[in-house]
Amino acid sequence: MPSSKFRFALRSLYRQKLYTLLNLGGLAIGLAVAITVSIYLNAEFNFDKHWPNYENIYRVNSSFYLNGTEEEYGGSGSGLASLMKEFYPEIEEATHFFSFENSVYFHSDSVKGYENELLVADANFFKVFNCHFLEGEADSSLTAERSIVISQSFARKYFGSKPALGQTLNTSNFEYQVRGVFEDIPDNTHHNFNAVISEPRVASDTLSLAVSLWQVSHYTFLKVPSALEAQNVEANFDQFFNRYMAGMADAVQAEYRVKLQQISDIHFNTNPGFDAIGGSLIYVYGFAGIGLLVLVLAIINYVNMATARSLRRIREAAMRKVLGASEGDIQLMILVESTILSLLALLLAFALVEIGTKVLPLTNAIDKDLQLNFKRDAYLWWLPLVLSIFVGIISGLYPALSLSKVSPLDAFSNKKGLQRQNNIPRKLLVGFQVAVSVTVVITAFFMYQQMDFIKNRNLGFNPNDVILITAQDTNSVMHLQEIRANIAQSDYVESVAMGASVTGRGAYRGIFEAETEANKGFQRHSLDFLRVSRDYLKTMQIDLLQGRSFLTEDEQDSSFSYAIVNQSLVEFMGWEQPIGKKLNTSFNERGEAMLKAVVVGVAEDFNAHSLHTKVGPLVLLLSKERSRVLHVKVDPNNIYVALDDLERRWTSMVPNAPFQFSFLSRDLLELYTEEMRQSRLILYLTIIAIFISILGFVGLASFTTGLRTREIGIRRLLGAGRLQMVNIVFKELLWVMLIGVLIAVPLAIHITQLWLANFAFHTEIKAPIIVGTAVITLLIGYGIVALHSLAIAKNNSVDSWRDA
């Protein structure tokens, strides 16, 4: 009996191929989206939970209090880890590390390449982060200088299948010994790493140790027995502060506190300053919502179509009853069929996820590891399985109940489907689908518009035709001045500016003493600043409003320098006469300013940070310190010739260091990777939502026209025009779509506003787009209805009224 039920069910599905395909496809896509989103969510919500003892690992965050304002950082000073371990007996292990901002050039005997996600850590690193070691000893792996511990895939890349332990890896400056190989760590790690390099040993005196505690340069992690100890450490920090930090507190006029953050909490609660990029709960919930919505849409469709189809089986059910089927027999039959179908949809969904993640570059497109890994994530099979059985049952429930109640007499009657009464809930559901699709389409549109806006926005400086050359190693850093001079001589180079960071990607923040207008002496402020060289304004094409630019003779090695401030800073300080104002910074442990500068010019405001933030007060400090980056403005007509020339000049100066460059305009777009990923994701979801909604609408249209097949046939026979017939049906569906659109528009506007609020600079919501989307939706609906009615009118004009 079960096997024949199965066979009948499959056959009945096979006989209605198109219907089955649509129905199955719709549900499969919905399930596939839900599965993919759940993989994504699972990764997001389990950040750093793969560490065996993640509940006991805490990061030490720093809070500085200055002028009554609090500044929070994810990082802390380099001396903190060892001092805290010494001071607090309850701390089991402590480590600190910092991560390379740039990629590093590595080469083994045969292989070379650039590597990202490198950490430099103290010897205790693997005592806190329990990686699984495949080669070498975790505890001793970082004790020797110039040691490197690499991930399995890193090892494979450079050493193939040979053991990596004991091999050497070279960068442009140093030679490292491989002291260990660990199993790759999952992507959902906040401070992700492919390799860890042992920290160079520096003899540190107490004074520099004390200074280091006030400078955020490292990430400090502690391992404690339980949350209680973590609280204790935080609560008793006063004693630590009094012992090690109070001495300098007066000099810098600031307070300092630590906050311990459990490692798995970091991802969604990153600190405003000095932290790796984290996740955003709003987006995660947003995607969860959209995924759920797509799934619900798909289920609604599925249930709708299954119901519509089953109503055509009234005669069959009645006949079965004549032949002796009980209500239970009919119910079982329908439920088995619908469950089989939904299980088939599940299989298809898994196939779709595989295709999406393996064949199509979906994983790349949204920058996440979205593998279907049943072994690692068992929920991936049982949850969808339960869900699809559930869908099978609910989709079969109404048909099963209604068909089992059919009177055997209906076997002889002319009823072919249920009457209108059932149509209203179906219409509402389709209205809901229209609402969702229109919402998603409008939102996606504005997201893309915002991305476009970012690409084309006037930043206050001109990133076009600016090539960035970043010195990666000490040798090139040391010779950067000369390299700059050399490059500036190239015929293809218009100007070169040297600096400590890439323009537009953020600024340093430091404490400044700024002279007040009213001669009330100095005020302390925490201000953004950039260290730049003399041709900076020219290279970046930033307008000068007052005073002068930097001059060649300004560039001297001394504790006295020059500054150009932006318009916002002038307003912030309330300066009437900005030129000649004094700015002091770089305070030593006695609170003395090591760098004194005088303002020589005022520049137009420009976006030193990403467009997420407003332009604030900014100081451009003429300073060679920490210079690493060359901004090279090249002749736009000869960019590639210029690049060749730059490389030739670079190599002639520092032959051992690889010539690495990038385009500033492209680098700036990286600031918006998260948003771009979101807009891509929403695009995919939009396509899927539209597809599913069209499916649903086709279902409703065919249901509605199906109910009126007879009427349409007869009207046609009596001479009704084609358009008139389409209109009859469309009128019935029009209000469904209108309600959908009416719900969608305010919703879309609201969501878009929320999203755009992330940007201090953003586009406007434009009415024509919204109206256009609504009109197009109605047109598509009309088209579907037209196709249906016309097909019916053409094919069955005689049959439809004769034996309907």
Binding site: V322, S407, F412
Partner: protein, 229 residues
């Protein structure tokens, strides 16, 4: 086997009362072959449906195999129907998604036969109705006559004691119609009671008795004289 006394059926639709059957008296003995004839709309199908326990009646007495039908629950009626009654219809009413043998087999499913017994019985019936060579065909691949043979096969598979046929030849040409009539009368010869609704006096001539109905009332009953053949 069947005894109807003063049986009345009233339909209530759109406020209009239709007396489809009015005080019908009818007795059908075991092994009999009765034809029911009458103009369209006179209540033939209604009568057959009531006899087949598919429909209810408003007044009167209906005794089936010495049981008063009004005493039976729905469940008991279902049981009685699936064990004792087979149906044949004018428009065959086969299930499109099932093959010939599956259609024939269907009643056995609902009687809870074991797979082995079902198969055996289906083979026998296929042989009886001469559809063995089409056993894996679907209804739409068969002619009307063939479909009706399958329907007859389905009606007899559970070895019912009563077969109800509503215009079984109505959609068939005369050759196919005759084949079906031969088949039904063979069944009757083997002891199955048969009640058939028909418009054709030729078909009626296969039966032993013709009951004429007009406006829901039995107007005449007469024996068929087989000597005429």
């Amino acid at each position: 086997m069947i005894k109807l006394h003063n049986l009345t059926k009233i339909y209530q639709a759109q406020g209009v009362e239709t007396r489809a059957l009015s005080e019908v008296d009818l007795t059908v003995k075991k092994g009999e072959f009765v034809s029911i004839m009458g103009p369209s709309g006179c209540g033939k199908t209604t009568l057959l449906n009531i006899i087949g326990l598919l429909d209810s009646y408003n007044e009167g007495l209906f005794v089936f195999n010495d049981t008063n039908v009004s005493d039976l629950s729905e469940r008991q009626k279902l049981k009685l129907r699936k064990e004792k009654i087979g149906f044949v219809f004018q428009n065959f009413n086969l299930i499109d998604d099932l093959t010939v043998s599956e259609n024939i087999e269907l009643p056995l499913h609902y009687l809870g036969y074991a797979a082995q017994d079902r198969r055996q019985r289906v083979l026998e019936v296929l042989e009886m109705v001469g559809m063995g060579h089409r056993r894996d065909f679907f209804p739409y691949q068969l002619s009307g006559g063939q479909q009706q043979k399958v329907a007859v096969g389905r009606a007899i598979i559970a070895k019912p004691s009563l077969i109800l046929a509503d215009e079984p030849t109505g959609n068939l040409d005369s050759t196919q119609g005759n084949e079906i009539m031969e088949m039904l009368s063979r069944l009757n010869d083997q002891g199955t009671t048969l009640i058939m609704v028909t418009h054709s006096s030729h078909d009626a001539s296969y039966s032993q008795r013709i009951v004429r109905i007009m406006d829901g009332q039995v107007v005449s009953e007469k024996k068929v004289l087989h000597a005429q053949f």
